[in-house]
Amino acid sequence: MGYVPTFTYQAAVCHAPQFAPRSYRHFTVSPLTGAMGADVEGIDLSSASDAAIAELEQALTDHIALMIRGQENLTPPAQIAFARRLGHVGIWPYAKAMEGYPEITELIQEPGDKYAFGGTWHSDSCSFEHPPKYTMLHCVACPPVGGDTGFANQYLAWERLDPALKAELEHRRAIASGRLGYMTAASDAEVQSHTATPVSFRPEELLEVAHPVARTHPVTGRKALYVNSSYTLCLEGESQKQSLPLLRRLWEHAITPEFTCRLRWSRGALAIWDNRCCLHYAHSDYPGYRRHMRRIVVEGERPV
């Protein structure tokens, strides 16, 4: 006879597709996975109508991260103008802006660079009091293969957390700080001298801020897990040492492969994602190649 196995080696994380089926009038949207992410084709961001932009924001709400293909002709001013249609454009204080465009940070990875920008799971600038809601990257150059960006849906991460743990964490806050990632990068002379995009931080500039462990998205009303290993120092009211075992468990859970998608770049594509409900990770697997992105952030609200 034999026995029916219980598959003890895997977690029960299955879920149905997370996006509502919707038909779009101004462009086509192709979902990438059951968790999040979509490819968008058939829109020109430099000349899109208000209706098309509203629809694009709807698609972003549904899919959390969009890879919008075919934006080869999007100039820096046009990219800034597009970003302004989605909200206030922020200035990122930690790197030199693109000449003439204070809103744009150029992320350039040269073939010999020893520091990989964004190479940990994180949500952008969550050590700020008002972290950016959206980040967009416009791909000026990318390697023929490699350099993908991974994303993880943090609504799912929160919803799929053990119910007892959820109840315990529901009203807790965690301390986020730029000390962890930024300082390591900025204080390493070797890293700085081999990096095309130098980042500069003065310790006194590095904020510490308390944000809810689960934040409520202002548009969808859904809760999303909002801790990550790049910024979260500890739970409020606990030491780092006390917090670490639980935080490690949360970080690991947050990037369960079932919650993720992986976006592949093409020259001229623009990716945009919602930092309020996803983490991302820049894959550093293209040694010998150059990668050049133009980054703009759209300001967000204080997490609640």
Binding site: G2, V4, T6, F7, P17, A35, G146, D285
Partner: protein
Amino acid sequence: MPDVLPQLRHPTAYEMQRALLHAPQLSPRDYRHITVAPVSGAIGAEVTGIALGAIDDAAMGEVVTALADHLVLVFPGQTLAPADQVAFARRLGPVNPWPYARPMAGYPELTELVSGPADIHNFGGGWHTDSSTFPRPPAYTVLQCIEGPDAGGDTSFANQYLAWDTLHETVCRGLEGRRLIHATAKGFGDHSRSTGSGHVTTTPVVVPPEHEGLESRHPVGRTHPLTGRRALYVNAGFAARFEGHSVEESQPLLDALAAHGGIPEFTCRVRWRPGTLVVWDNRCCLHYAHNDYRGQRRVMRRAVVEGEVPV
């Protein structure tokens, strides 16, 4: 226990780049009969320009070479009949039935893996390499998509040569000569626990009585018979303990090695379409079936190609 846990850490960007630069993945060869396009910097290539149902020896030789270089080959648009899938798998080595599921009717070498809309568990979730509890685990798995969701149900792969190459040298030294006990009961539960567990997957997986206590000892770092390269061979879901040590003693190091094996820079992610056939080398990669398509049906056909005793 090898005292290597303190030295196990995430590789730096520089260590990662050094390992990736020396891998054949980023330098595809020139092929005459097939077109090979890598899908990530670490592992995997899409192969086009060939019909696997009628492949000649010259093209097959190139496929074997590409497989050794890229570990995972994705052949879109093949739609092979069951007999043709078996015939193709046989070009890679002897093909035996898989003893844990009823074979497809009329084709003892094929297992049909069906996920139904109500399934909670999927087949092949969790990072693993196939059948490492066998004394001779399969060298290759040949999987074809028959039916699946539009989005969801991807399979990720992780290059375990890179996992080995990015371990600190003191870790490699500490793991030298060490063996792991791989146990069917660990990954598939023991008999007592699973009795009465009810619905698990649509494909009835049944561990035959003679396999209930099956355990095999395999090296932690195995040497690939064709490439001569070392690969981390930790199948965390099934590796119960280090030889000579208890489960409790072994677990922290097993967990850390498992986490290391799945570092995103070692991976690629493959999207299926009906008719896509994928071949991977179980000796040097892990894979993970993403369970993100609940409510939909997915049908895959699998053949496994015999491997050697890991050394």
